[in-house]
């Protein structure tokens, strides 16, 4: 293989992965990686109670292998492979994770829980993990540049079909595979690539992520043991590019041009999802929150709410009276009313009967939505919205944004916004007292010296489950209130 006259795509890619060092990390790449990793951990905790994660955990033979890697939100430890499968699936269960426009998919979830699981088994500092993450994202998005959007439009789920290579690259980097082993990891991973968009909207979509991160890791571990595969697996007539895309539908030059300048993780098209509902409603939510904050609107004074999203954003979110919590996620009317009334959108707003909140029902009666007249259907920017609130005194307040595709680039989520989302997510799996320290630790993830500093806060002790959930207060009686038994 090393004597081959021209190097294969895999070899060239592996060489770059292998040569990558921590000192090449820029300040911007570390900052963005930190936010993405923090966010990925949060959404994983939110996804743990979801049926896809729970069914997976109950499936015979899953997470029964002994090992040192934690199933988040439990005290259960298993192999890094199984932990990557379960935590990876949980991380995408709610589709609340960050995404890359170029990738047409989610760049973080194939990597983050896998890397944490692997670090628990093999060691690694926060900085090591960030380096592995950055190179994993690089591989995913570089591949996307080479194959998209033909790849995406054809029906592949790029998060999985490309994510498996990112996971293989990241895992190889973390466990410091040699050049030929790294090459083999990518080649083995090619035969694991899978994930069909036909399964979108089902439990199998998040399973793609568990699978691709597990398989990427599996490929790296096999390669470490000198497992072999075909080094020309990308360009081979029956290899990844020709089979998954087809001749003439990819451009391998794009894989390498201007490599690392800047790193893909620094791209403005990488964005976080701020709200736990359909991304098409986010521009309107952002404007409703802005109105509420800047105009100090009291909902009692509202006589009319007019929502004007870009036509393409409205088509699947025009749900004036959602009847289920799932419909509420796709109701621009519901989410705007919530934003105006409560100043936030939380996971619980889309659970149980919360969509029937009487105050929101009242606001929905005052709400209309129609495509924005000035935002052309085929414009370059298709993620705009305007929200107009008319008050009882006749005054008309309006906010408009022309394009908002998630939060990133010049408009990143602030530390407070990250915390609001993270705490909302984490409370689904963690005891309350672990949430803020975990966030605080992840906020300076690059300074983590042992991964247990993070994972011990992701573990939920069996003791915790014995604690009573419901609090009943005793009425005060004639006796003097007791001294606290709590010792600082």
């Amino acid at each position: 293989m090393n004597n081959a006259p021209t190097r294969t795509v895999t070899q060239k890619l592996a060489q770059r992965i292998h040569a990558f060092e921590k000192r090449q990390l820029t300040k911007a790449s570390v900052a963005q990686a930190r936010s993405c990793i923090l966010d990925a951990v949060g959404v994983t905790l939110a996804g743990y109670p979801e049926p896809c994660t729970q069914i997976l955990l109950k499936t015979p033979g899953v997470a029964t292998a002994p090992g040192s890697s934690l199933v988040f939100g439990t005290a259960r430890r298993t192999s890094a492979l199984d932990a990557a499968l379960i935590n990876g699936t949980a991380s995408h269960a709610l589709d609340f994770d960050d995404f890359s426009g170029i990738m047409g998919g989610h760049h973080s979830v194939p990597l983050v829980s896998m890397l944490l699981a692997l670090a628990e088994e093999r060691g690694g500092t926060g900085e090591d993990l960030i380096a592995a993450y950055v190179i994993g994202v690089e591989v995913e998005i570089r591949l996307a540049r080479a194959v998209n959007f033909h790849h995406y439009d054809k029906g592949w789920h790029p998060t999985a079909t490309l994510g498996v290579f990112g996971a293989a690259a990241a895992a190889s980097h973390l466990i410091k595979l040699g050049l030929s082993q790294t090459t083999m990891a990518l080649c083995i991973a090619a035969s694991f690539a899978s994930g069909l968009k036909a399964n979108f909207g089902t439990m199998t979509k998040p399973l793609h992520i568990g699978q691709c991160s597990r398989n990427g890791l599996f490929a790296a571990l096999l390669a470490e043991g000198e497992f072999d595969a075909a080094s020309d697996v990308f360009e081979h007539q029956q290899g990844f590019l020709n089979v998954f895309n087809g001749p003439g539908t990819f451009d391998t030059d794009k894989l390498f041009e201007n490599w690392g300048s800047p790193w893909e993780i620094e791209a403005k098209s990488i964005a976080l999802k701020q709200f736990p509902c359909c991304g098409s409603t986010h521009p309107a939510i952002a404007m409703a929150l802005k109105l509420r904050r800047e105009e100090r609107i009291a909902t009692a004074n509202i006589s009319h709410i007019e929502i004007l999203p870009h036509a393409r954003r409205l088509r699947h979110t025009n749900t004036p009276h959602p009847q289920t919590s799932l419909e509420a996620k796709f109701s621009v009317q519901y989410v705007v009313a919530r934003a105006l009334r409560y100043g936030a959108l939380r996971l619980k707003d889309f659970e149980g009967d919360d969509h029937l909140d009487p105050e929101i029902q009242h606001l929905l009666k005052l709400t209309t939505a129609s495509p924005h007249p000035d935002m052309a259907e085929d414009a370059d920017e298709q993620w705009g919205a305007e929200v107009i609130v008319t008050l009882n005194d006749g005054s008309r307040l309006t906010r408009r944004i022309d394009n908002l595709v998630g939060r990133g680039g010049d408009d990143p989520m602030s530390s407070s916004e990250l915390w609001d989302k993270f705490s909302d997510c984490a409370v689904r799996s963690l005891p309350r007292e672990q949430i803020a320290p975990l966030f605080e630790r992840l906020e300076t993830f690059e300074k983590v010296t042992e991964i247990s500093q993070v994972t011990r806060l992701l573990e939920v002790s069996e003791l915790h489950k014995a604690l009573p959930k419901k609090v009943v207060f005793s009425p005060r009686d004639a006796q003097e209130a007791p001294e606290t038994t709590w010792v600082p």
Partner: protein, 494 residues
């Protein structure tokens, strides 16, 4: 050379309260000098439970701090007893054996509620009911403890986060990794700035006034040994490793007067599973206070205290020191399956050693005399009691062992139901009580009894409030009270 209106040294609750207060009182250029790097910022506040003790006459007044509380809990106010200024001051007097500084304690108590409201309004500190920390479980209901109803949302970590967010919003500069090493004084006796050390070397920052809010000396082994004694010198540190007494030394170097109980500190039994410093991510959850439901063995396999002498609240301080006096400054707390659910939730932060037999358990412990350990447990069991004899974890149940040289006088339940559990314990220091003499404007007073112009202090550095012990929830309110005063005074200093 950089010139500021006010330099605040330290970045915990008290220091950031001072910075925010200075800004709100007209100081334009306020800088916070934080010795710790960004990832270790925030002093001991990060490690605290965030509980706020304050005086109120009508429980409904608390509603101002907890706007949505009635939506969350039915009859929330019904169980809360008023906690008057006299009650608060009485508690402060009681736990300090009457030695709390009369002037400072009056200020603390009388402005306590106002301080907490200010923390919410000016400081942007979100608050929540302190149920898990301060409500006492009685049967199936929770009974509110006196004076402790509110804490910062997400405890000390949340409190610290909110302070930093507010400082940022107000345009207060924070310099991480910058250690103040010396206070600079002019010929006129005024403070004129501080000398600092950071990654780039030594430099000088000038200011009209300086507020010291950089903690006690709990993390400084030399000062602990010198002032508190060799036992506490050997203690593990529960909080920030950065509270090394720097501010105290700097101030005393220019003539500040030491004040308060320099031989005193808050210390408790904590897990011995970690190194000299408890892990930051575990915050205040290092405590190991449920020994009342089991027994403690030293390395020689012997008991050394009456674990059930009283509730943990009344014995933790001396037992923390007692463990430090044992060989290796270490003990094992032994429990059986019947009491394991009674352990404080904080026990979740370490993994117990577990076995189905007592022999199996003892064999896994790092004891010098395992035979003796088994003998001690056997002897204890032969004199201890059965569950049906009246074991009651909610009160002193008088269930005493009968016939031991060292009896266990309450909760003396036999250790007999498998599985058996062992948790390690040692002594851990929280903070020191010794500080500086300040006047009612939080200005530092010299050994010549003259206030030092331009020098103020707050937080753990204020001497004279606490002796032997302190009422839970007082530290943060004291920090914010004197921080607020110090900031105001520093802004007004000419």
């Amino acid at each position: 050379m950089t010139t500021y209106d006010v330099i605040v040294v330290g970045a915990g609750n008290a220091a950031l309260a001072a910075a925010v207060s200075a800004k709100e009182n007209g100081a334009e250029r306020v800088v916070v000098i934080e010795k710790a790097p960004r990832e270790m910022r925030g002093g001991n506040t990060h490690w605290s439970g965030g509980v706020l003790r304050f005086a109120f006459d009508d429980p409904r007044e608390i509603g101002e701090l907890l706007p949505d509380v009635e939506d969350q809990f039915e009859n929330f106010y019904d169980g809360i007893s008023p906690y008057t200024k006299d009650d608060f001051h009485g508690d402060l007097m009681r736990v300090t054996s009457g030695r709390t500084d009369p002037v400072l304690s009056k200020i603390l108590v009388s402005s306590s509620f106002d301080t907490v409201k200010w923390m919410k309004n000016a400081g942007g500190i979100k608050m929540e009911p302190a149920i898990t920390l301060s409500a006492v479980k009685k049967g199936n209901v929770m009974v509110w403890a006196r004076g402790l109803v509110v804490r910062a949302e997400h405890e000390g970590v949340g409190l610290s986060r909110s302070w930093f967010a507010t400082a940022d919003r107000l345009g207060i500069e924070i310099r991480y990794g910058t250690a103040a090493t010396e206070l600079l004084v002019g010929d006129d006796g005024r403070i004129k700035g501080v000398k600092v050390r950071d990654d780039d070397g030594i430099s000088i920052l000038n200011a009209r006034s300086v507020v010291l809010g950089c903690g006690g000396f709990e993390a400084n082994v030399q000062m602990r040994t010198q002032h508190i004694g060799p036992l506490v010198g050997a203690a593990k540190v529960r909080g920030t490793p950065h509270n090394q007494g720097d501010g105290l030394r700097m101030a005393m170097n220019i003539g500040a007067m030491p004040w308060g109980q320099w031989s005193g500190c808050h210390a408790t039994p904590i897990s011995a599973d970690w190194g000299d410093f408890a892990p930051r991510e575990l915050t205040d959850r290092s405590n190991r206070l449920s020994y009342v439901y089991g027994i403690m063995l030293n390395r020689k396999g012997r008991r050394f205290v009456d674990e059930g002498e009283d509730g943990a609240l009344f014995t933790y301080a001396k037992f923390g020191r007692a463990i430090l006096a044992e060989p290796g400054a270490k003990a094992w707390q032994i429990f059986d399956a019947r009491v394991i659910h009674l352990l404080e939730p904080r026990y979740q932060t370490s993994k117990p050693i577990v076995a189905d037999t007592l022999e199996g358990l003892v064999n896994q412990l790092d004891l010098d005399d395992k035979e003796q350990a088994l003998k001690t447990i056997d002897e204890y069991n032969s004199c201890a009691r059965a569950l049906e004899d009246g074991f009651d974890p909610t009160k002193k149940d008088q269930l005493s062992s009968k016939g031991l040289a060292l009896e266990k006088t309450n909760w003396a339940l036999r250790i007999e139901k498998a599985p058996f559990y062992a948790y390690s314990a040692t002594g851990g220091i929280t903070f020191t009580f010794g500080g500086l003499k300040v006047n009612e404007t939080a200005q530092v007073v010299g050994t010549d009894w003259r206030p030092i112009k331009g020098l103020f202090c707050c937080g753990e550095m204020v001497g004279g409030l606490f002796y032997d012990n302190y009422p839970a929830g007082t530290g943060l309110v004291s920090g914010a009270t004197f921080g607020r005063i110090a900031g105001r005074s520093a802004a007004a200093a000419d």
